[in-house]
Symmetry: C2
Subunit: 285 residues, 2 copies
Amino acid sequence: MAALEGSWVTEAHELGQCAISFQVNKLLHAEQSEFQKIEIFESAAWGNIMVLDGCLMVTTRDNFLYHEMMAHPALFTHPRAKRVCIIGGGDCGTLREVLRHEEVEHAVQIEIDERVTRLSERYFPELCESNDDPRAQLLFIDGVKWMAEADPESLDVVIIDSTDPVGMAEGLFGREFYQTALKALRPGGILVQQSEAPLLHGSLISSMRTQMKGAGFQAMRTLCFPQPCYPTGWWSCTMARKGVDLDSFRERGAATKKFPTRYYNVETHRGALALPEFLREQLEG
Amino acid sequence: MAALEGSWVTEAHELGQCAISFQVNKLLHAEQSEFQKIEIFESAAWGNIMVLDGCLMVTTRDNFLYHEMMAHPALFTHPRAKRVCIIGGGDCGTLREVLRHEEVEHAVQIEIDERVTRLSERYFPELCESNDDPRAQLLFIDGVKWMAEADPESLDVVIIDSTDPVGMAEGLFGREFYQTALKALRPGGILVQQSEAPLLHGSLISSMRTQMKGAGFQAMRTLCFPQPCYPTGWWSCTMARKGVDLDSFRERGAATKKFPTRYYNVETHRGALALPEFLREQLEG
Protein backbone atom coordinates (compact mmCIF):
# COMPACT_ATOMS: atom_id res chain seq x y z
CA MET A 1 0.00 0.00 0.00
CA ALA A 2 2.88 2.31 -0.81
CA ALA A 3 1.91 5.86 -1.67
CA LEU A 4 2.73 7.02 -5.18
CA GLU A 5 6.09 8.77 -5.33
CA GLY A 6 6.41 11.96 -7.30
CA SER A 7 3.51 13.98 -8.71
CA TRP A 8 0.36 12.22 -9.77
CA VAL A 9 -3.14 13.26 -10.69
CA THR A 10 -5.73 10.85 -9.32
CA GLU A 11 -9.44 10.33 -9.78
CA ALA A 12 -11.02 8.18 -7.11
CA HIS A 13 -14.41 6.76 -8.04
CA GLU A 14 -16.63 6.69 -4.98
CA LEU A 15 -19.14 4.06 -6.08
CA GLY A 16 -16.46 1.90 -7.66
CA GLN A 17 -14.00 2.27 -4.78
CA CYS A 18 -11.24 2.31 -7.36
CA ALA A 19 -8.91 5.01 -8.62
CA ILE A 20 -6.85 5.84 -11.68
CA SER A 21 -3.70 7.96 -11.55
CA PHE A 22 -1.33 9.45 -14.09
CA GLN A 23 2.17 10.65 -13.34
CA VAL A 24 2.42 14.35 -14.15
CA ASN A 25 5.21 16.88 -14.46
CA LYS A 26 3.31 20.01 -13.54
CA LEU A 27 0.04 21.84 -13.29
CA LEU A 28 -0.29 23.98 -16.41
CA HIS A 29 -3.51 25.75 -15.53
CA ALA A 30 -6.20 25.81 -12.86
CA GLU A 31 -9.34 27.91 -12.63
CA GLN A 32 -12.82 27.89 -11.24
CA SER A 33 -15.12 28.61 -14.17
CA GLU A 34 -18.75 29.59 -13.75
CA PHE A 35 -19.59 25.88 -13.80
CA GLN A 36 -16.69 23.80 -12.51
CA LYS A 37 -13.08 23.58 -11.47
CA ILE A 38 -10.85 23.09 -14.51
CA GLU A 39 -7.29 21.82 -14.18
CA ILE A 40 -4.79 21.02 -16.93
CA PHE A 41 -1.68 18.96 -16.16
CA GLU A 42 1.35 18.14 -18.25
CA SER A 43 2.63 14.57 -18.27
CA ALA A 44 5.47 12.80 -20.04
CA ALA A 45 3.62 9.62 -20.99
CA TRP A 46 0.03 10.80 -21.51
CA GLY A 47 0.51 14.29 -22.88
CA ASN A 48 -1.76 16.94 -21.41
CA ILE A 49 -4.53 15.92 -19.05
CA MET A 50 -7.78 17.82 -18.39
CA VAL A 51 -9.53 17.37 -15.07
CA LEU A 52 -13.03 18.75 -14.39
CA ASP A 53 -14.19 18.89 -10.76
CA GLY A 54 -11.63 16.20 -9.94
CA CYS A 55 -12.69 13.85 -12.76
CA LEU A 56 -10.19 12.86 -15.45
CA MET A 57 -11.72 14.00 -18.73
CA VAL A 58 -9.17 13.90 -21.52
CA THR A 59 -5.57 12.89 -22.05
CA THR A 60 -3.68 13.61 -25.26
CA ARG A 61 -2.74 9.94 -25.54
CA ASP A 62 -5.96 8.03 -25.05
CA ASN A 63 -8.81 10.39 -26.03
CA PHE A 64 -8.94 8.90 -29.53
CA LEU A 65 -10.72 5.84 -28.13
CA TYR A 66 -13.65 7.77 -26.71
CA HIS A 67 -13.95 10.40 -29.42
CA GLU A 68 -13.85 7.93 -32.29
CA MET A 69 -16.43 5.69 -30.63
CA MET A 70 -18.76 8.58 -29.86
CA ALA A 71 -18.76 9.67 -33.51
CA HIS A 72 -18.08 6.95 -36.06
CA PRO A 73 -20.45 4.10 -35.12
CA ALA A 74 -23.44 6.48 -35.24
CA LEU A 75 -22.27 8.22 -38.42
CA PHE A 76 -21.55 4.97 -40.25
CA THR A 77 -24.90 3.55 -39.11
CA HIS A 78 -26.83 6.54 -40.45
CA PRO A 79 -27.11 6.38 -44.26
CA ARG A 80 -26.18 10.02 -44.71
CA ALA A 81 -26.06 12.32 -41.69
CA LYS A 82 -26.19 15.91 -42.88
CA ARG A 83 -26.96 17.72 -39.65
CA VAL A 84 -25.30 16.71 -36.40
CA CYS A 85 -25.63 18.16 -32.91
CA ILE A 86 -23.17 17.56 -30.08
CA ILE A 87 -24.33 18.35 -26.56
CA GLY A 88 -21.34 18.92 -24.29
CA GLY A 89 -18.11 17.84 -25.95
CA GLY A 90 -16.34 21.08 -25.05
CA ASP A 91 -12.89 19.67 -25.75
CA CYS A 92 -14.00 19.57 -29.41
CA GLY A 93 -12.58 16.08 -30.04
CA THR A 94 -15.97 14.62 -30.96
CA LEU A 95 -16.65 17.59 -33.25
CA ARG A 96 -13.38 16.90 -35.07
CA GLU A 97 -14.32 13.24 -35.64
CA VAL A 98 -17.82 14.21 -36.84
CA LEU A 99 -16.42 16.68 -39.36
CA ARG A 100 -14.17 14.03 -40.85
CA HIS A 101 -17.37 12.77 -42.51
CA GLU A 102 -17.87 14.52 -45.85
CA GLU A 103 -21.62 13.97 -45.78
CA VAL A 104 -21.96 16.19 -42.71
CA GLU A 105 -23.10 19.63 -43.82
CA HIS A 106 -23.55 21.22 -40.41
CA ALA A 107 -22.35 20.28 -36.93
CA VAL A 108 -23.30 22.34 -33.92
CA GLN A 109 -21.57 21.85 -30.57
CA ILE A 110 -23.52 23.07 -27.57
CA GLU A 111 -21.21 23.24 -24.58
CA ILE A 112 -22.36 25.03 -21.47
CA ASP A 113 -18.87 26.00 -20.30
CA GLU A 114 -16.98 28.10 -22.84
CA ARG A 115 -13.83 27.91 -20.72
CA VAL A 116 -13.51 24.17 -21.43
CA THR A 117 -13.33 24.93 -25.14
CA ARG A 118 -10.99 27.90 -24.79
CA LEU A 119 -8.59 25.88 -22.65
CA SER A 120 -8.86 22.96 -25.03
CA GLU A 121 -7.88 25.24 -27.91
CA ARG A 122 -4.77 26.10 -25.95
CA TYR A 123 -3.78 22.74 -24.45
CA PHE A 124 -5.36 20.26 -26.87
CA PRO A 125 -5.00 22.12 -30.20
CA GLU A 126 -5.19 18.89 -32.22
CA LEU A 127 -8.72 18.26 -30.89
CA CYS A 128 -9.76 21.74 -31.98
CA GLU A 129 -8.31 21.67 -35.47
CA SER A 130 -11.77 21.59 -37.05
CA ASN A 131 -13.27 24.39 -34.98
CA ASP A 132 -12.81 26.77 -37.89
CA ASP A 133 -14.42 24.42 -40.39
CA PRO A 134 -17.22 26.41 -42.09
CA ARG A 135 -19.60 23.54 -41.26
CA ALA A 136 -18.92 23.91 -37.52
CA GLN A 137 -20.92 26.03 -35.13
CA LEU A 138 -19.92 26.46 -31.49
CA LEU A 139 -22.54 27.58 -28.99
CA PHE A 140 -21.99 28.08 -25.28
CA ILE A 141 -25.45 27.68 -23.86
CA ASP A 142 -27.58 25.11 -22.04
CA GLY A 143 -27.98 22.01 -24.22
CA VAL A 144 -31.23 20.91 -22.60
CA LYS A 145 -32.85 24.24 -23.38
CA TRP A 146 -31.41 24.29 -26.93
CA MET A 147 -32.81 20.85 -27.65
CA ALA A 148 -36.25 21.77 -26.29
CA GLU A 149 -36.35 24.64 -28.79
CA ALA A 150 -34.78 22.83 -31.76
CA ASP A 151 -36.77 22.67 -34.99
CA PRO A 152 -38.66 19.39 -35.35
CA GLU A 153 -36.99 16.87 -37.66
CA SER A 154 -33.96 19.09 -38.18
CA LEU A 155 -31.19 16.71 -37.06
CA ASP A 156 -29.81 13.37 -38.22
CA VAL A 157 -27.48 12.55 -35.33
CA VAL A 158 -27.44 13.82 -31.74
CA ILE A 159 -24.30 13.07 -29.72
CA ILE A 160 -24.46 13.57 -25.98
CA ASP A 161 -20.85 13.91 -24.89
CA SER A 162 -21.38 15.01 -21.31
CA THR A 163 -19.89 14.53 -17.89
CA ASP A 164 -21.35 12.02 -15.42
CA PRO A 165 -25.12 12.08 -14.78
CA VAL A 166 -24.89 14.23 -11.68
CA GLY A 167 -25.14 17.99 -11.28
CA MET A 168 -25.41 19.95 -14.49
CA ALA A 169 -25.39 16.89 -16.79
CA GLU A 170 -28.22 15.15 -14.95
CA GLY A 171 -30.90 16.63 -17.20
CA LEU A 172 -29.31 14.93 -20.21
CA PHE A 173 -30.09 11.44 -18.88
CA GLY A 174 -33.89 11.59 -18.52
CA ARG A 175 -37.00 10.89 -20.53
CA GLU A 176 -37.96 14.53 -20.98
CA PHE A 177 -34.68 15.32 -22.66
CA TYR A 178 -34.89 12.21 -24.82
CA GLN A 179 -38.37 13.28 -25.95
CA THR A 180 -37.06 16.63 -27.14
CA ALA A 181 -34.18 14.90 -28.94
CA LEU A 182 -36.54 12.43 -30.59
CA LYS A 183 -38.68 15.29 -31.82
CA ALA A 184 -35.63 17.11 -33.22
CA LEU A 185 -34.42 14.02 -35.07
CA ARG A 186 -35.53 13.20 -38.59
CA PRO A 187 -36.87 9.67 -39.22
CA GLY A 188 -33.94 7.25 -39.09
CA GLY A 189 -32.05 9.67 -36.89
CA ILE A 190 -29.71 8.40 -34.17
CA LEU A 191 -28.96 9.60 -30.67
CA VAL A 192 -25.72 8.42 -29.06
CA GLN A 193 -24.81 9.12 -25.46
CA GLN A 194 -21.86 8.25 -23.27
CA SER A 195 -23.17 5.71 -20.78
CA GLU A 196 -20.45 5.21 -18.17
CA ALA A 197 -18.67 2.01 -17.07
CA PRO A 198 -20.25 -1.35 -17.99
CA LEU A 199 -18.89 -2.99 -14.85
CA LEU A 200 -20.07 -0.27 -12.46
CA HIS A 201 -23.11 1.29 -14.09
CA GLY A 202 -25.22 -1.52 -15.51
CA SER A 203 -28.33 -0.25 -13.76
CA LEU A 204 -27.75 3.28 -15.09
CA ILE A 205 -27.42 1.92 -18.63
CA SER A 206 -30.54 -0.14 -18.14
CA SER A 207 -32.42 2.88 -16.84
CA MET A 208 -31.20 5.07 -19.74
CA ARG A 209 -32.49 2.53 -22.23
CA THR A 210 -35.84 2.32 -20.45
CA GLN A 211 -36.16 6.10 -20.58
CA MET A 212 -35.13 6.17 -24.25
CA LYS A 213 -37.74 3.57 -25.08
CA GLY A 214 -40.32 5.43 -23.02
CA ALA A 215 -39.52 8.58 -24.97
CA GLY A 216 -40.33 6.75 -28.21
CA PHE A 217 -36.98 5.52 -29.53
CA GLN A 218 -37.48 2.21 -31.31
CA ALA A 219 -34.03 0.57 -31.09
CA MET A 220 -31.22 0.80 -28.54
CA ARG A 221 -27.72 -0.62 -28.57
CA THR A 222 -24.93 -0.22 -26.01
CA LEU A 223 -21.36 -0.29 -27.32
CA CYS A 224 -18.38 -1.02 -25.05
CA PHE A 225 -14.83 0.18 -25.61
CA PRO A 226 -11.60 0.72 -23.66
CA GLN A 227 -10.86 4.12 -22.14
CA PRO A 228 -7.90 4.02 -19.70
CA CYS A 229 -8.51 7.45 -18.14
CA TYR A 230 -12.09 6.65 -17.09
CA PRO A 231 -13.06 4.51 -14.07
CA THR A 232 -12.25 0.80 -14.60
CA GLY A 233 -10.64 1.67 -17.96
CA TRP A 234 -13.72 0.34 -19.72
CA TRP A 235 -16.48 2.61 -21.00
CA SER A 236 -19.64 2.59 -23.07
CA CYS A 237 -21.96 4.62 -25.22
CA THR A 238 -25.58 3.86 -25.93
CA MET A 239 -27.25 4.49 -29.29
CA ALA A 240 -30.98 4.97 -29.72
CA ARG A 241 -32.75 5.29 -33.05
CA LYS A 242 -35.84 6.89 -34.44
CA GLY A 243 -36.01 3.76 -36.57
CA VAL A 244 -35.61 0.05 -36.20
CA ASP A 245 -32.05 -1.08 -36.83
CA LEU A 246 -28.76 -0.30 -35.12
CA ASP A 247 -26.96 -3.56 -35.91
CA SER A 248 -26.14 -3.02 -39.56
CA PHE A 249 -23.97 -0.16 -40.72
CA ARG A 250 -22.24 1.09 -43.85
CA GLU A 251 -19.42 -1.44 -43.67
CA ARG A 252 -18.23 -0.59 -47.17
CA GLY A 253 -18.11 3.09 -46.30
CA ALA A 254 -16.24 2.37 -43.07
CA ALA A 255 -13.78 0.09 -44.87
CA THR A 256 -13.01 2.70 -47.53
CA LYS A 257 -13.15 5.86 -45.39
CA LYS A 258 -10.71 8.52 -46.50
CA PHE A 259 -9.77 9.72 -43.02
CA PRO A 260 -7.49 8.13 -40.42
CA THR A 261 -8.64 6.50 -37.20
CA ARG A 262 -6.63 4.84 -34.48
CA TYR A 263 -9.25 2.61 -32.85
CA TYR A 264 -12.30 2.56 -35.11
CA ASN A 265 -12.58 0.23 -38.07
CA VAL A 266 -15.22 -2.15 -39.41
CA GLU A 267 -14.14 -4.89 -37.02
CA THR A 268 -14.00 -2.77 -33.85
CA HIS A 269 -17.40 -1.27 -34.73
CA ARG A 270 -18.88 -4.75 -34.99
CA GLY A 271 -16.92 -5.83 -31.92
CA ALA A 272 -18.21 -2.93 -29.85
CA LEU A 273 -21.78 -4.09 -30.53
CA ALA A 274 -21.01 -7.37 -28.71
CA LEU A 275 -22.57 -7.23 -25.27
CA PRO A 276 -20.64 -9.00 -22.51
CA GLU A 277 -22.77 -11.80 -21.12
CA PHE A 278 -23.41 -10.12 -17.77
CA LEU A 279 -24.54 -6.92 -19.46
CA ARG A 280 -26.66 -8.77 -22.01
CA GLU A 281 -28.49 -10.46 -19.13
CA GLN A 282 -28.92 -7.12 -17.39
CA LEU A 283 -30.17 -5.27 -20.46
CA GLU A 284 -31.99 -7.94 -22.44
CA GLY A 285 -32.48 -10.85 -20.04
CA MET B 1 -3.59 15.99 -6.86
CA ALA B 2 -5.17 15.00 -3.59
CA ALA B 3 -3.82 11.84 -1.99
CA LEU B 4 -6.26 8.98 -1.62
CA GLU B 5 -7.93 8.99 1.76
CA GLY B 6 -8.28 5.75 3.67
CA SER B 7 -6.59 2.46 2.80
CA TRP B 8 -5.82 1.67 -0.82
CA VAL B 9 -3.75 -0.88 -2.63
CA THR B 10 -2.00 0.65 -5.64
CA GLU B 11 -0.04 -0.68 -8.59
CA ALA B 12 1.99 1.94 -10.39
CA HIS B 13 3.12 0.95 -13.86
CA GLU B 14 6.58 2.33 -14.51
CA LEU B 15 6.57 2.30 -18.31
CA GLY B 16 2.98 3.48 -18.51
CA GLN B 17 3.35 6.15 -15.82
CA CYS B 18 -0.16 5.30 -14.70
CA ALA B 19 -1.54 3.59 -11.63
CA ILE B 20 -4.61 1.68 -10.55
CA SER B 21 -5.86 1.60 -6.97
CA PHE B 22 -8.55 -0.24 -5.06
CA GLN B 23 -9.94 0.79 -1.73
CA VAL B 24 -9.32 -1.97 0.82
CA ASN B 25 -10.44 -2.74 4.34
CA LYS B 26 -7.46 -4.69 5.54
CA LEU B 27 -4.48 -6.83 4.73
CA LEU B 28 -5.54 -10.46 5.14
CA HIS B 29 -2.20 -12.10 4.50
CA ALA B 30 1.36 -11.24 3.53
CA GLU B 31 4.34 -13.49 3.00
CA GLN B 32 7.55 -13.76 1.07
CA SER B 33 7.41 -17.08 -0.75
CA GLU B 34 10.44 -18.70 -2.33
CA PHE B 35 9.63 -16.75 -5.49
CA GLN B 36 7.80 -13.53 -4.68
CA LYS B 37 6.01 -11.36 -2.17
CA ILE B 38 2.36 -12.39 -1.90
CA GLU B 39 -0.23 -10.09 -0.34
CA ILE B 40 -3.98 -10.61 -0.03
CA PHE B 41 -6.26 -7.69 0.78
CA GLU B 42 -9.93 -7.56 1.61
CA SER B 43 -12.08 -4.90 -0.05
CA ALA B 44 -15.76 -4.03 0.09
CA ALA B 45 -16.31 -3.40 -3.62
CA TRP B 46 -13.84 -5.78 -5.31
CA GLY B 47 -13.81 -8.73 -2.91
CA ASN B 48 -10.39 -10.15 -2.14
CA ILE B 49 -7.37 -8.86 -4.04
CA MET B 50 -4.11 -10.75 -4.65
CA VAL B 51 -0.92 -8.76 -5.20
CA LEU B 52 2.33 -10.40 -6.34
CA ASP B 53 5.52 -8.38 -5.99
CA GLY B 54 3.42 -5.21 -5.96
CA CYS B 55 1.41 -6.12 -9.09
CA LEU B 56 -2.37 -6.48 -8.88
CA MET B 57 -3.10 -10.02 -10.01
CA VAL B 58 -6.66 -11.00 -9.17
CA THR B 59 -9.74 -9.46 -7.66
CA THR B 60 -12.85 -11.48 -6.83
CA ARG B 61 -14.95 -9.07 -8.83
CA ASP B 62 -13.21 -8.71 -12.15
CA ASN B 63 -11.11 -11.87 -12.65
CA PHE B 64 -13.87 -13.44 -14.76
CA LEU B 65 -12.88 -11.23 -17.67
CA TYR B 66 -9.31 -12.48 -17.85
CA HIS B 67 -9.96 -16.11 -16.95
CA GLU B 68 -12.79 -16.54 -19.44
CA MET B 69 -10.80 -14.94 -22.23
CA MET B 70 -7.70 -17.02 -21.52
CA ALA B 71 -9.72 -20.24 -21.78
CA HIS B 72 -12.82 -20.11 -23.95
CA PRO B 73 -11.65 -18.55 -27.23
CA ALA B 74 -8.89 -21.17 -27.57
CA LEU B 75 -11.13 -24.05 -26.47
CA PHE B 76 -13.98 -23.06 -28.78
CA THR B 77 -11.52 -22.60 -31.66
CA HIS B 78 -10.06 -26.07 -31.20
CA PRO B 79 -12.43 -28.74 -32.58
CA ARG B 80 -12.04 -30.98 -29.53
CA ALA B 81 -9.31 -30.24 -27.02
CA LYS B 82 -8.72 -33.33 -24.92
CA ARG B 83 -5.44 -32.46 -23.26
CA VAL B 84 -4.74 -28.97 -21.96
CA CYS B 85 -1.73 -27.54 -20.18
CA ILE B 86 -1.71 -24.29 -18.19
CA ILE B 87 1.66 -22.73 -17.43
CA GLY B 88 1.38 -20.43 -14.42
CA GLY B 89 -2.23 -19.77 -13.51
CA GLY B 90 -1.64 -20.50 -9.84
CA ASP B 91 -4.90 -18.87 -8.76
CA CYS B 92 -6.61 -21.77 -10.58
CA GLY B 93 -9.22 -19.54 -12.28
CA THR B 94 -8.09 -20.51 -15.77
CA LEU B 95 -8.10 -24.19 -14.78
CA ARG B 96 -11.69 -23.86 -13.62
CA GLU B 97 -12.76 -22.35 -16.95
CA VAL B 98 -10.89 -25.03 -18.91
CA LEU B 99 -12.58 -27.83 -16.96
CA ARG B 100 -16.00 -26.41 -17.77
CA HIS B 101 -15.44 -27.96 -21.22
CA GLU B 102 -16.68 -31.55 -21.24
CA GLU B 103 -14.36 -32.52 -24.07
CA VAL B 104 -11.30 -31.85 -21.89
CA GLU B 105 -10.05 -35.17 -20.53
CA HIS B 106 -6.93 -33.92 -18.76
CA ALA B 107 -5.77 -30.47 -17.68
CA VAL B 108 -2.42 -29.99 -16.01
CA GLN B 109 -1.55 -26.71 -14.28
CA ILE B 110 2.16 -26.07 -13.86
CA GLU B 111 2.65 -23.24 -11.39
CA ILE B 112 6.11 -22.60 -10.03
CA ASP B 113 4.91 -21.11 -6.74
CA GLU B 114 2.75 -23.51 -4.74
CA ARG B 115 2.00 -20.77 -2.21
CA VAL B 116 -0.03 -18.85 -4.81
CA THR B 117 -2.32 -21.84 -5.20
CA ARG B 118 -2.56 -22.59 -1.48
CA LEU B 119 -3.48 -18.97 -0.73
CA SER B 120 -5.92 -18.94 -3.62
CA GLU B 121 -7.64 -22.01 -2.17
CA ARG B 122 -8.09 -20.05 1.03
CA TYR B 123 -8.97 -16.57 -0.26
CA PHE B 124 -10.43 -17.30 -3.72
CA PRO B 125 -12.16 -20.65 -3.10
CA GLU B 126 -14.53 -20.15 -6.04
CA LEU B 127 -11.56 -20.09 -8.43
CA CYS B 128 -10.32 -23.38 -6.98
CA GLU B 129 -13.62 -25.25 -7.06
CA SER B 130 -12.38 -27.55 -9.84
CA ASN B 131 -9.03 -28.38 -8.28
CA ASP B 132 -10.38 -31.73 -7.12
CA ASP B 133 -11.81 -32.60 -10.52
CA PRO B 134 -10.38 -36.02 -11.43
CA ARG B 135 -9.26 -34.54 -14.78
CA ALA B 136 -7.13 -31.89 -13.04
CA GLN B 137 -3.46 -32.26 -12.18
CA LEU B 138 -1.60 -29.59 -10.23
CA LEU B 139 2.18 -29.49 -10.45
CA PHE B 140 4.43 -27.00 -8.72
CA ILE B 141 7.53 -27.03 -10.87
CA ASP B 142 9.22 -24.93 -13.56
CA GLY B 143 6.94 -24.68 -16.60
CA VAL B 144 9.75 -24.04 -19.06
CA LYS B 145 11.51 -27.22 -18.01
CA TRP B 146 8.25 -29.20 -18.01
CA MET B 147 7.45 -28.09 -21.54
CA ALA B 148 10.93 -28.94 -22.79
CA GLU B 149 10.41 -32.50 -21.54
CA ALA B 150 6.77 -32.89 -22.59
CA ASP B 151 5.92 -35.78 -24.92
CA PRO B 152 5.76 -34.67 -28.56
CA GLU B 153 2.23 -34.15 -29.87
CA SER B 154 0.68 -34.78 -26.48
CA LEU B 155 -1.29 -31.54 -26.00
CA ASP B 156 -4.18 -29.79 -27.75
CA VAL B 157 -4.11 -26.43 -26.00
CA VAL B 158 -1.31 -24.70 -24.09
CA ILE B 159 -2.34 -21.67 -21.98
CA ILE B 160 0.41 -19.42 -20.69
CA ASP B 161 -1.14 -17.58 -17.77
CA SER B 162 1.96 -15.95 -16.35
CA THR B 163 3.05 -12.72 -14.74
CA ASP B 164 4.75 -9.98 -16.78
CA PRO B 165 7.68 -10.92 -19.03
CA VAL B 166 10.35 -9.99 -16.52
CA GLY B 167 12.12 -12.14 -13.91
CA MET B 168 10.89 -15.68 -13.63
CA ALA B 169 8.27 -15.38 -16.40
CA GLU B 170 10.74 -14.04 -18.98
CA GLY B 171 11.56 -17.49 -20.33
CA LEU B 172 7.91 -17.97 -21.32
CA PHE B 173 8.05 -15.17 -23.89
CA GLY B 174 10.85 -16.38 -26.18
CA ARG B 175 11.34 -18.48 -29.28
CA GLU B 176 12.98 -21.39 -27.48
CA PHE B 177 9.99 -21.88 -25.24
CA TYR B 178 7.59 -21.53 -28.16
CA GLN B 179 9.54 -24.24 -30.01
CA THR B 180 9.09 -26.66 -27.13
CA ALA B 181 5.36 -25.82 -26.96
CA LEU B 182 4.98 -26.31 -30.72
CA LYS B 183 6.61 -29.71 -30.45
CA ALA B 184 4.33 -30.70 -27.56
CA LEU B 185 1.19 -29.67 -29.45
CA ARG B 186 -0.68 -31.99 -31.74
CA PRO B 187 -1.45 -30.76 -35.28
CA GLY B 188 -4.18 -28.12 -35.01
CA GLY B 189 -3.12 -27.39 -31.45
CA ILE B 190 -3.35 -23.86 -30.05
CA LEU B 191 -1.11 -21.88 -27.73
CA VAL B 192 -2.63 -18.86 -25.98
CA GLN B 193 -0.61 -16.44 -23.88
CA GLN B 194 -1.45 -13.33 -21.94
CA SER B 195 0.16 -10.49 -23.89
CA GLU B 196 -0.11 -7.37 -21.73
CA ALA B 197 -1.71 -3.98 -22.50
CA PRO B 198 -2.48 -3.12 -26.14
CA LEU B 199 -1.91 0.58 -25.53
CA LEU B 200 1.42 0.15 -23.73
CA HIS B 201 2.93 -3.05 -25.08
CA GLY B 202 2.39 -3.07 -28.84
CA SER B 203 6.05 -3.76 -29.49
CA LEU B 204 6.07 -6.65 -27.01
CA ILE B 205 3.02 -8.17 -28.73
CA SER B 206 4.68 -7.69 -32.10
CA SER B 207 7.87 -9.32 -30.85
CA MET B 208 5.95 -12.25 -29.32
CA ARG B 209 4.24 -12.88 -32.65
CA THR B 210 7.55 -12.72 -34.50
CA GLN B 211 9.04 -15.26 -32.09
CA MET B 212 5.96 -17.50 -32.38
CA LYS B 213 6.22 -17.40 -36.16
CA GLY B 214 9.95 -18.04 -35.97
CA ALA B 215 9.26 -21.06 -33.79
CA GLY B 216 7.02 -22.48 -36.51
CA PHE B 217 3.50 -21.45 -35.54
CA GLN B 218 1.46 -20.81 -38.69
CA ALA B 219 -1.26 -18.43 -37.51
CA MET B 220 -1.36 -15.77 -34.79
CA ARG B 221 -4.23 -13.66 -33.49
CA THR B 222 -4.25 -11.11 -30.67
CA LEU B 223 -7.50 -10.70 -28.73
CA CYS B 224 -8.23 -7.59 -26.66
CA PHE B 225 -10.52 -7.45 -23.64
CA PRO B 226 -11.20 -5.25 -20.59
CA GLN B 227 -9.47 -6.02 -17.30
CA PRO B 228 -9.86 -3.19 -14.75
CA CYS B 229 -7.20 -4.43 -12.31
CA TYR B 230 -4.41 -4.50 -14.93
CA PRO B 231 -2.55 -1.40 -16.22
CA THR B 232 -4.78 0.81 -18.46
CA GLY B 233 -7.74 -1.51 -17.70
CA TRP B 234 -7.34 -3.04 -21.15
CA TRP B 235 -5.53 -6.31 -21.74
CA SER B 236 -4.80 -8.88 -24.42
CA CYS B 237 -3.95 -12.47 -25.09
CA THR B 238 -2.28 -13.81 -28.21
CA MET B 239 -3.18 -17.15 -29.79
CA ALA B 240 -0.81 -19.09 -32.04
CA ARG B 241 -1.72 -22.25 -33.90
CA LYS B 242 0.00 -25.33 -35.21
CA GLY B 243 -2.41 -24.94 -38.11
CA VAL B 244 -3.75 -22.24 -40.34
CA ASP B 245 -6.94 -20.70 -38.97
CA LEU B 246 -7.72 -18.81 -35.78
CA ASP B 247 -10.60 -16.72 -37.10
CA SER B 248 -13.35 -19.31 -37.21
CA PHE B 249 -14.52 -21.09 -34.10
CA ARG B 250 -17.29 -23.44 -32.97
CA GLU B 251 -19.96 -20.75 -32.84
CA ARG B 252 -22.73 -23.27 -32.44
CA GLY B 253 -20.91 -24.89 -29.55
CA ALA B 254 -20.30 -21.54 -27.91
CA ALA B 255 -23.93 -20.50 -28.40
CA THR B 256 -25.23 -23.71 -26.80
CA LYS B 257 -22.61 -24.20 -24.09
CA LYS B 258 -23.99 -25.74 -20.92
CA PHE B 259 -21.89 -23.70 -18.49
CA PRO B 260 -22.27 -20.08 -17.38
CA THR B 261 -19.98 -17.23 -18.38
CA ARG B 262 -20.12 -13.58 -17.45
CA TYR B 263 -18.12 -12.02 -20.30
CA TYR B 264 -17.59 -14.66 -22.96
CA ASN B 265 -20.21 -15.38 -25.61
CA VAL B 266 -20.19 -15.81 -29.38
CA GLU B 267 -20.32 -12.05 -29.93
CA THR B 268 -17.57 -11.09 -27.47
CA HIS B 269 -15.36 -13.86 -28.89
CA ARG B 270 -15.80 -12.44 -32.38
CA GLY B 271 -15.45 -8.91 -31.01
CA ALA B 272 -12.20 -9.71 -29.23
CA LEU B 273 -10.69 -10.74 -32.56
CA ALA B 274 -11.18 -7.19 -33.86
CA LEU B 275 -7.85 -5.42 -33.81
CA PRO B 276 -7.95 -1.70 -33.02
CA GLU B 277 -6.64 0.23 -36.00
CA PHE B 278 -3.40 1.31 -34.30
CA LEU B 279 -2.62 -2.26 -33.27
CA ARG B 280 -3.54 -3.66 -36.68
CA GLU B 281 -1.05 -1.27 -38.25
CA GLN B 282 1.60 -2.25 -35.71
CA LEU B 283 1.06 -6.01 -36.09
CA GLU B 284 0.02 -6.41 -39.70
CA GLY B 285 0.87 -3.10 -41.38
